[in-house]
Symmetry: C2
Subunit: 150 residues, 2 copies
C-alpha cells in the first residue's frame, strides 16, 4: 500500500468536505465517518491532525463540525498527504539508505528520482477542487460501491 490508511481516510474526508459546499456551515465528523464508512473516533483523530496543519477548521457544540480551512482550490492532495505522512514521504531513498543523496546516491537513486518526480507532480497538481470537479462531472463515487442485491 503506497499511502497509509490514515492518509487515505484523510484524502477521502477532505474530498467529502470539498464536495459538501456548505458556505460557512460545519459538517459533523459523525456524518462524514458514517457516509465514508470510516471509524468515527479514528477519523476524529485524523481530522485533528489536519486541523493542526491548518487544513481544516472545527467548531464544537450543536451545528458544529469541521470544514476546509481554505478554498478547495488552494488545498492539494499533496498537502493532505504531507500533513498525515510527513513532509518527506516521497523524499526518502527507495532503498532505505539514510545518507542517500546526490553526492552519495544509492544504485536506484537516478531512476527513482525520476518516477518520484512524476508522482509528486500528480499530487501537487491535484487540488481538492480538481478532485471534486472530476467526481461531479464523471459521476464518480467516493464511497465503496453498494453491494448489489441480486
Amino acid at each position: 500500500m503506497l499511502l497509509s490508511k490514515r492518509c487515505i481516510y484523510a484524502l477521502r474526508a477532505a474530498l467529502y468536505l470539498a464536495l459538501a459546499k456548505t458556505d460557512g456551515e460545519y459538517i459533523s465528523i459523525q456524518k462524514i465517518a458514517s457516509e465514508l464508512n470510516i471509524s468515527f473516533h479514528f477519523l476524529t483523530k485524523i481530522l485533528q491532525d489536519l486541523q493542526r496543519k491548518n487544513l481544516v477548521i472545527s467548531f464544537r457544540g450543536p451545528r458544529g463540525g469541521v470544514a476546509l480551512a481554505r478554498p478547495d482550490t488552494e488545498i492539494t492532495s499533496m498537502d493532505i498527504i504531507r500533513a498525515i505522512n510527513g513532509e518527506d514521504v516521497f523524499a526518502q531513498c527507495i532503498m532505505g539508505l539514510p545518507g542517500c543523496g546526490t553526492e552519495t546516491p544509492c544504485p536506484m537513486h537516478e531512476d527513482w528520482a525520476r518516477s518520484r518526480k512524476a508522482i509528486e507532480t500528480v499530487f501537487n497538481n491535484t487540488s481538492l477542487a480538481t478532485l471534486a470537479e472530476q467526481t461531479v462531472k464523471k459521476h464518480l463515487r467516493l464511497t465503496e460501491p453498494k453491494a448489489r442485491t441480486e
Copy 2:
C-alpha cells in the same frame, strides 16, 4: 515509506548477490547480513521468501549459502518487490476503494494510473544487472555511508 523494510532488505541483498559474481559459489547469509547491516535471522526469512518465489537458490552446510536463481539480467527489481510485497503492490487504488477500476473509478483513478505506470516502468526496466552495473560504474554504495571520524 513506499516499500516495506522486508522489501528494501530483499532488494539490497539481491543486489549484493548480483555484485558478488561468484560463479557457482554460494554466499552465506551471515556475510550478507553483516555487510549490509541487517539482522541475520530476519534476512534469512526474507531470503527464504525469495527462494520460494524461485528468485534465489540456497544450499546448506559448510560453503553453503544463497545465490541468484537466474542471471542478474533476468531478475528485475519488480520481481523482488512483487515477491515480497505481493503481486498487486501498485495495482491497488490510491484512495483505498476496493471496487475501484475502469468502470467504477475513484476520483483519483486517472491521474494515479498514469504515475503508477511510471513507477512500474522504472522497476520493470531495472534488472539487478542494471543496478550492479550502475553501482560499479559510478562507484556507488550499497551499504550506509561510513560515519566520518573527524
